[in-house]
């Protein structure tokens, strides 16, 4: 201290090359503090810097935050001769210095007389951690929230104290809740006192947050240890047998080798290297090279080498088994003291049960939304198939036409909400027209020849797909949903559903209602039902079956078009998108039972939940899920050839 004071005097006396214009407050507490740790600060080593940062952070000085901040930003300089710390801003060869205590301008100096403090990234991280406590109490709520997020991402033991200190003065209820929760989590991870930790752990029983599981899982970590004497102790979770799930005999043996409890085994490749290295005059340890074409012969040759001391002894297959049998393998908690670990395991298992339930709910919602998509895709098909007995293989292409209509509308109408509102009726109109045209030109010549209809509509499907490819190219085109459909409805960390899927679900319900109203409440529906049941009788009562068929087909196709817009919103729009849905749509209709809208609904639900269910069983492989689903449906048809809701009575028997 005296030394600094002398220096200051010297400076005052004009002995320094460039005098400060204004007196530097050398005895300001912050400068004093810095000087106390001056050497380690100047040394800037991550290993030794800790006390300096802690002292600054814990000083309670109001300037400490600014100092830490600017230090972190590499804006702190130290006078080469004076050893005094200043904030500096280098401008060419000059350094504009300000006081660390009050920020007053000290004036320009020659830059080379000062040394810039350049904390490395490790030190900057430590400074940032130290800064947290200031940020947590910052008057600006955004700063506080940012700090909280930073801790949540990457928590450290030191944060716990800072966090606890900041809780009392927190004015904002939301932030307070977050802070309290975070404090509990940090307590679990970093608190010294086990009782405190266990209390915190139990406090999270049944909490679905991912953060809770992230905090608890490390505590429940186990390690496998081998022992030839029985191990007891509260940290032993239990015995694990080699060869059981996730712990093969090879793993067990490798563990023994790593613990120097067993001779190593040799990899055939390494063995080969050693044998090759020991080839001597066409033989290895007396075994001619040409005989070494089996693993057994090689093992013998290697054993001979080992016996001669020219290779490390290794365990043979038989030996490994004996050695393994001599050890028992235990799982031991290593993440936390046993009582803490057990508490964590108990809470985790409760949480996992609850997670499973919620995952089932989430899966159910997924299945429901997939079912609504299949329902949308299949409803048009069900109409044409059920009412007219016509298989329309080009149905998928009508879906595609609807989606491309939406895409084209968006090219002209940039507002997404408006364009979707426009696209839906337009898609209906386009595909209705296409359907009517197809009915007029192709299908009505082929009534009562279902296989021919199937084939002719194939032809149309092939042609339409290629035309779309020629016009729009092969790459996927976007059909963008309006902004208000972005995002998801989040119920908790596990159960959430995107708004688009909700919209599709609602659309599916609307279609169901529309269909029921049209069929049961309108003249058209009455006539359609009449034609379905007895076309000749209907004709004699003045209904024109030709017209009805045409309108029905148009209606079915039009719905396919709208389904196309809906599907395009959440999937890609390509020329092949129709083909992607056609088989599932047929499955839906066939499984549900032809000629009944409720059947289609059930069929869609079944196909959708089945697919999601199988995907859940084998999440890595959606292709396999589809394969198994189709196989299941083929088997299902065995037992209910006419679908879930079969037409009964003589009509079905005929």
């Amino acid at each position: 201290m005296v030394r600094f004071f002398c220096l200051w005097l010297l400076a005052l006396c004009g002995l320094l090359p460039l005098q400060p214009i204004q007196a530097q407050s050398v005895d300001a507490p912050i400068q004093q503090l810095l000087q106390t740790h001056g050497e380690i600060i100047a040394k800037s080593s991550r290993k030794s810097i800790g006390p300096a940062i802690d002292a600054l952070a814990g000083s309670g000085l109001p300037e400490a935050q600014v100092v830490l901040q600017r230090w972190q930003d590499k804006e702190m300089w130290v006078g080469k001769d004076t050893g005094l710390f200043v904030f500096g801003d280098k401008d060419g060869k000059e350094l504009l210095a300000t006081d660390v205590a009050d920020g007053s301008t000290l004036g320009p100096f020659v830059a080379k007389d000062f040394k810039q403090l350049k904390p490395n990234s490790g030190i900057r991280g430590m400074i940032a951690a130290a800064l947290v406590q200031f940020q947590l109490s910052n008057p600006d709520p955004i700063v506080r929230l940012t700090a909280l997020s930073a801790i949540e991402r990457d928590a450290e033991a030191s944060h716990l104290t800072a966090l606890r200190a900041s809780i009392d003065g927190e004015p904002n209820a939301d932030i307070l809740a977050r802070k309290t929760r975070l404090e509990r989590l940090l307590t679990i991870q970093f608190a010294e006192d086990d009782v405190e930790r266990i209390a915190a752990i139990k406090g999270f029983d049944g909490d679905l947050g991912v953060d809770v599981r992230a905090a608890l899982n490390p505590l429940a970590t186990t390690q496998i240890v081998a022992s030839d004497t029985p191990l007891t102790g509260s940290d032993i979770r239990g015995i694990i047998a080699p060869g059981s799930d996730g712990f093969s005999e090879t793993d067990a043996y490798a563990l023994l080798v790593a613990d120097d409890k067993a001779k190593p085994i040799i990899d055939p490749e390494d063995q080969k290297q050693i044998l090759v290295a020991n080839i001597n005059g066409g033989s290895v340890a007396g075994f001619p090279v040409s005989t070494l074409d089996t693993q057994i012969a090689r093992d013998e040759a290697y054993a001979a080498l080992a016996a001669a001391g020219r290779a490390d002894p290794v365990a043979t297959q038989a030996e490994t088994a004996t050695i393994l049998a001599g050890f028992t393998f235990y799982e031991r908690y290593i993440g936390a003291p046993p009582n803490v670990a057990l508490a964590a395991v108990a809470v985790l298992s409760n949480i996992e049960n609850k997670v499973a339930v919620n995952q089932a709910v989430d899966l159910g919602l997924d299945a429901l939304s997939l079912a609504s998509i299949y329902f949308l895709a299949a409803i048009g098909l069900a109409i044409t198939f059920g009412v007219m007995g016509v298989i329309n293989m080009a149905h998928g292409e009508f879906i595609m036409m609807g989606a491309y209509t939406g895409y084209v509308v968006q090219l002209f109408v940039p507002d997404y909400t408006l364009s979707i509102i426009l696209a839906i009726p337009l898609a209906f109109a386009v595909t209705f027209a296409a359907g009517v045209a197809m009915e007029r030109l192709v299908i009505r010549w082929l009534y009562h020849r279902p296989l021919e209809t199937l084939l002719a509509t194939f032809g149309v499907s092939i042609a339409l797909q290629q035309i779309a490819k020629n016009i729009f190219g092969t790459q996927a085109r976007p059909l963008t949903a309006p902004g208000w459909l972005d995002g998801s409805l989040i119920i908790n960390d596990i159960v959430q559903i995107s708004y688009i899927r909700i919209a599709i679900f609602i659309l599916a319900l609307l279609f169901l209602a529309l269909f029921l109203i049209v069929m049961n409440r309108t003249r058209l529906g009455l006539e359609v039902r009449a034609v379905t049941q007895n076309p000749r009788m209907a004709a004699s009562m003045g209904i024109n079956p030709d017209k009805i068929n045409m309108l029905t087909f148009g209606f079915g196709s039009g719905i396919a078009g709208i389904a196309g817009v809906a599907i395009g919103l959440y999937a890609k729009v390509t020329s092949e998108m129709g083909a992607d849905y056609i088989v599932q749509s047929f499955m839906t209709v066939v499984v549900g039972g032809v000629g009944n809208i409720w059947g289609t609904l059930l069929g869609a639900t079944m196909v959708g939940s089945l697919q999601k269910g199988i995907e859940w069983l084998n999440p890595s492989n959606t292709l396999a899920a589809q394969t198994y689903m189709i196989l299941f449906i083929i088997l299902f048809i065995q037992f209910r050839p006419r679908g879930i809701i079969a037409l009964k009575g003589r009509a079905a028997e005929a």
Partner: protein
């Protein structure tokens, strides 16, 4: 007289509608029987049940000397057992020649491998020619069945039935759409056939039934209303009320 076919207590309903209601029916080994009844009396369903197309909800259908149940058998098995059926509308294979149609129906092993390696013998050709002669199609053996007139198609189908050599023939409205001369010929064919086997004729036309001159069973609402000679049933009060009197 031992019964060839005995149907007892059979019921079948479609969506709550009782097409057959506790039906009892039996027929002897060489007997001609006419079954009459108004629309919806269950005549076709009755035939469907006997031929295995429809399974009844309850009841027994017992067949032949060994008294075997037909209910567990497939249609083809029942046909092989010796029950032949003629549909209301002539169902023949229009794309194939008359000879092919008859050859197809000829009583032979139905096993696919046997059929694959089947070579018709001279006797088979003769049998086909004879059958064609019986049904008046001797000159049309090489014609496509589709080219025949409606009546000829009916006969061809009867010929095919005869070729099957069934023990029981179920014939659904054989005379529908025939000229009077054709009807007469059909009647002769059926009466002739009934000499060696059981024949059940389902018919609407009372004149035709009268000419068959056989025992008549009247069906109404899925069960037997009356049974006996044509004169007996036509004088029955109930029959007159539900059927004839209208």
């Amino acid at each position: 007289m031992s019964a060839l076919l005995e149907v007892s207590g059979v019921s079948k309903s479609f969506d709550g509608f009782k097409a057959i209601n506790n039906l009892n029916f039996s027929i002897g080994e060489a007997e001609l029987r006419a079954v009459i009844g108004p629309n919806g009396a269950g005549k076709t369903t009755f035939m469907d049940i006997v031929t295995g197309k429809t399974r009844p909800d309850e009841g027994r259908v017992i067949w032949g000397e060994k008294s075997r149940s037909l209910l567990k058998m497939s249609e083809s098995r029942i046909a092989q057992e010796g029950i032949g059926r003629k549909f209301q509308r002539p169902t023949i294979f229009e794309d194939q020649s008359v000879a092919d149609n008859l050859m197809l129906a000829l009583r032979k092993d139905r096993n696919p491998l046997k059929v694959l390696f089947f070579t018709p013998s001279e006797a088979d050709h003769n049998r086909v020619a004879t059958l064609a002669g019986d049904v008046g199609l001797a000159d049309s053996l090489d014609r496509k069945a589709g080219e025949l007139s409606h009546g000829q198609k009916q006969w061809l189908e009867i010929g095919m039935l005869l070729a099957q050599e069934p023990k029981l023939l179920l014939v659904d409205e054989p005379a529908a759409g025939m000229t009077p001369a054709e009807r007469e010929h059909t009647t002769d064919l059926l009466v002739e056939a009934a000499k060696t086997r059981a024949v059940v004729v389902v018919e609407h036309d009372m004149e035709f039934v009268r000419r068959l001159n056989c025992r008549v069973t009247v069906l109404h609402e899925g069960s037997v209303l009356a049974e006996g000679s044509i004169d007996h049933v036509t004088s029955d009060e109930k029959v007159i009320e539900v059927y004839l009197g209208r």
